[in-house]
Amino acid sequence: MASTFFGLTIASSGLSTFQTAINTTANNISNVDTEGYSRQEAIKTAAEAIRVNAKYGSTGTGVEVTAISQMRDLYYDLKYWGNSSRLGEFQTKSYYLNQIETYFQDDDKVTGFSKIFSGMFDSLEELKKNPSSLDNRNSYISSALTLTDYFHSVSNQLTSLQEDINQVISTKTAMINGTAQKIATLNKQINLIEQKGGKANELRDERAVLIDDLSKLIPVEVKEEEVVNSNYPDRYTGMTTYTVKINGQTLVNSYEYNELECIPRGKDEKINVSDADGLYDLYWKNTSMKLETTAGTMSGEMKALFNLRDGNNSTFFSGEFNKIENYIKAGGGVASQITIMDPTITSPSQITMPPYGTITIKNVDFKYDSYQMIEQSDAAGNKTYSFQFQLSDKMEDGNVSKLMNQKAAVGTDVDFMGIPYYQTQMNEFIRNFTKTYNDLILKDGVDLNGQQTGVFFVTDDLANGGEYDYNSKQYTESITAGVTTRVYNSDYYYFHMNVQNISVTDEVIKDPRKLATSTKNEFTNGVSANDLLKKLSETKDKTIVFRGGVGEDFLQCLLSDVAVDTQKVKIFEDNYKNLSKAITNQRMSISGVDNDDEALTLVKYQNAYKLSSKLVSVLAEMYDRLILQTGV
């Protein structure tokens, strides 16, 4: 027979159990609005039976709370983290693309490229009607200046946006590092607690919230595995290993974490010539390996930021490394000159390489000091292009044999229409347009005094002031055996010209009489001869200058690029938002605290507690009767 007071034990077990259960419910109710909180449940099991020396053999011993566990479904967590990185990617892209869109806006409220461009040609029309009037000349020159100013301002806005994004990248990297550190600390704390039995519910919730935030920035793979004591594989140790990986590379491994650092690109490591200085690349601090943030398998806000900042829509320079020869550098020392054939860039206006920088041949970087673009046209008019790069150092023979005929590139292929893409598109347009325009003037244009003029659109030398000299920076041409070879140096005038430094020549601004409006032949016929102006006005809508279209279609090309892209990103964002909503629903359905639920539970446990306490009083009465009133 069991002990007399055994019932009391049972009752008291009920009391304490239901007290714990009510505490758990109280915890749930207090945390009904806490973010990331999963509702907890007291798991009650019947306490172990004890053997009793009676006919019924064993008797139960009451109830005990074996664990307070959280209701959480790892499946939905994983789904949520997977979706959240894509949502983050498209949200960030949408945010920044909306900004870029406003730079190219041109409607009733904002004066954009189309208005300014047609304004310039309207001034040209007025000038055509009366070429000798100084007023008309002035107004035409200032409308041309407005055009160049427009390009400056758009480019500046894009560059400063690029720098902003760069800063954001740096901030978010710090966030990633901080989060990794916190996760590692939590891992340790969780293991400490769970080792001694039980579950560290609050800490697990905290850790899950950290992963929620992290998954927005980068795609994470989370794995938690039980630690198995190899000597006693069946024993429950209570410890787990928790790994967080980014795209296959370990960020957190239980108690250790790896940090990412932002290393700015050097002046000679620019990928695109219009890039801002010091753009960051992400490297792992421990291995110094680069984290490819724009790879196809990446997603998350970081990928969006890098895509926006570096996206060039594959308009970068690449070709096949074909020939090498050594030469003596100007300052002494031997260096290599390499020839690249089959380049992707086949027009001087599409150049995206900076005058000195880094060229990569099959993942090996080489610094170059200068380059030439060589265009060969044969008698039939077919053109072949090749490039020669003068490297800073000699390439080792081992490398030469390994890298011969491999792909060479300056910059990487970032398949997104990001800021560098728009900068190079604008560059291409202004180079083509100004070259067509300048060539017409240089051919035989004369000003009001009958003098030959220089070019109209010039490149300012932003570093030293003044303008680049046009005549000294031209290509050289030679003809051998019917093949015309044109060599463009890296300081070719139109390579230098970009959206930042395009301007109208000072000569004409100071003295509008120096604007060329007539050809040499027509000049003696009088000041109203305007045949040159007629040819110039054709550059608006009759000459092909950009992507198979005429000058005034430029903004349409670019605006359709950005508008369609933004719309696409918005659609994706909406899709992922809806998915996210559905997954969050499921998560909340499983883990959320329901007021009515808890209220019922409260009532249930309250009653149970009342019963248990009633039981105690009943037993007490029994004992009282037994002890005090039975027998003596």
């Binding site: 693309l97 029309e125 009366n130 003696t524 001869a529 369609v564 719309q567 499983i590 329901d594």
Partner: protein
């Protein structure tokens, strides 16, 4: 599925936000009535909008700037041409009046004054300008058509082309009478040999007078130099003679002194009057050539230094070279210089009218008027002389018979001169009538041309006006939304918003605990 209160709250939040987004969108649309806020809202609408605005700005340029400018230019041209036509008509009227026999001395003086004034006025009209740019000078809109002041320094080498119709005949009169100044002359009378005689010569009139005598002109006929060119003609006896033409320069004074003698094969260049006089043989030969050769042309290059007020600037009409700065000669080529304004898509309209030898305001008009003036002056002088001698005959000083006989002889000579002068004047008036009518016709032709261009411009203006309003409508259709549509949408969005709010308030107010 287990639904928690927080899920309900979350959903209410999302729904309210969704309806608020719509309310915000239609709110913005109500203010600016535009379908899209940014291009990504609807890229097709955005790009279409760009295209339409481009076209609109072009049409605006045509309609609001180019077309009014062209209209003004054409108006000024038409006014000037009308004035010119009137002036030439006045000269014609003078010719008609003058061809009447009964003219007094006063009439002739008045006619002379009028002709001078008309000639000045005519060429002054040629200098008409629009906003500071002369309208009849082609591209040289910063220069006047004629010299506004006498110029002594400009030297030009001018090339002029003539065809066979420029060979006209003119009467020259030798021995212009000089009144007797003393008694001996009165009594001596005047010898027959000293009386005026008429010499008729064929000549080509050059565009200018007062040419440079120091430089011999280069003359080519159909490419061959005139000096030394073979000619074939029939002389006064009727025999066919072959010879060579010779060119010589002679001053007018010398030729007058030689009684306008010219050999059959001679060509004389008279720089003071700007004439090229042809000997009978030469002109006969040329006319015969021209009958067989319809492309007969004579090219002449001569130099002129110094210009009078009212002379046409050579560079406006002729191929010439400005030799004023001998180190830097400037060559001008006469060509059709059209100032064209773009009045519509790919439509150019010529707005200017160019004066020229073959158009309006040729130098021939001026020289014709000058010849008329000369003839009138000669007639005035001749009639004066007759009157003077008649007066002398009545004087008691010369009452004696010898003087009377002498004066009678003088009177005969003077009457002869008067007859010649009056006759020349009549003939010139007669031919002037046709001549000036023709000039007026050419001006009127030009006026018609200007008028037809004006009509074309009006049509284009109408078209542009319609096109402008069409494009504006297209832009509006593309970008704007109907205000009533927006209001309806806004109302329904707002209603949805209100119902979302009501639902939210109901859903989150009660829990089980309210009932326990």
């Amino acid at each position: 599925m287990r639904v928690t209160n927080s899920m309900i709250t979350e959903h209410s939040k999302v729904n309210i936000n969704g309806t608020k987004e719509l309310v915000d969108k239609y709110n913005t649309q109500m203010t600016d009535q535009k379908k899209i806020n940014k291009p990504s809202d609807d890229p097709v609408v955005a790009i279409r909008s760009l295209r339409l605005r481009n076209t609109l700005s072009e049409v605006n340029q045509y309609y609001e700037k180019n077309i009014p400018d062209a209209e003004s230019w054409l108006d000024v041209t038409e006014t000037a041409l009308k004035n010119m036509s009137q002036i030439v008509k006045d000269v014609y009227t003078q010719c008609v009046n003058g061809s009447n026999d009964t003219l007094t001395a006063e009439d002739r003086n008045i006619i002379l004054k009028n002709l001078t004034a008309l000639k000045n006025q005519l060429y002054a009209e040629g200098n008409a300008d629009y906003a500071g740019r002369t309208i009849f000078t082609g591209y040289k809109t910063n220069q006047s058509l004629t010299y506004s002041e006498p110029n002594t320094s400009d030297r030009y080498s001018i090339q002029q082309q003539f065809d066979i119709n420029d060979v006209t005949s003119k009467n020259y009169f030798t021995d212009v009478l000089k009144l007797p100044t003393n008694d001996a002359q009165v009594q001596g009378g005047i010898a027959i040999a000293d009386e005026m005689k008429q010499v008729t010569c064929d000549r080509i009139r050059i565009a200018y007078e007062g040419l440079d005598s120091g430089v011999a002109p280069t003359i080519t006929v159909n490419g061959a130099t005139l000096d030394g060119m073979p000619i074939t003609y029939q002389d006064s006896t009727g025999t066919t003679v072959t010879g060579t033409a010779t060119v010589a320069t002679m001053s007018y004074a010398n030729w007058y002194a030689a009684d306008f003698a010219i050999a059959d094969n001679q060509v004389l260049f008279i720089p003071e009057t700007g004439e090229l006089v042809l000997g009978k043989g030469v002109s006969q030969s040329m006319k015969a050539d021209a009958k067989t050769n319809p492309d007969w042309k004579m090219n002449m290059e001569y130099q002129k230094k110094g210009f009078e007020k009212g002379d046409v600037r050579p560079e406006m009409y002729f191929n010439c070279t400005n030799l004023t700065d001998i180190a830097h000669p400037v060559t001008y080529t006469r060509q059709n210089q059209n100032i064209e304004y773009l009045v519509s898509e790919n439509q150019l309209l010529k707005v200017n009218t160019q004066a020229g030898e073959d158009g309006i305001l040729s130098t021939a008009i001026g020289r014709d008027i000058d010849e008329l003036k000369e003839a009138v002056s000669a007639a005035i002088a001749a009639n004066d002389k007759v009157d003077k001698i008649k007066e002398m005959m009545l004087q008691t000083k010369y009452a004696d018979d010898v003087s009377q006989a002498g004066l009678k002889k003088w009177l005969e000579a003077a009457n002869k001169e008067k007859a010649f002068a009056d006759d020349t004047m009549q003939k010139l008036y007669g031919s002037g009538q046709t001549g000036f009518q023709n000039y007026q016709k050419s001006i009127d032709l030009e006026t018609t041309d200007v008028g037809s261009r004006d009509d074309r411009l009006k049509l284009t203006k109408n078209r542009m006006q319609t096109q402008q309003s069409t494009i504006k409508k297209l832009i509006s259709d593309n970008e704007n939304r109907n205000q009533s549509d927006i209001l309806i949408d806004y109302k329904s969005a707002y209603t949805a918003y209100e119902s979302a709010l009501t639902a939210a308030s109901k859903a989150n107010s009660m829990t089980l605990l309210d009932y326990l």
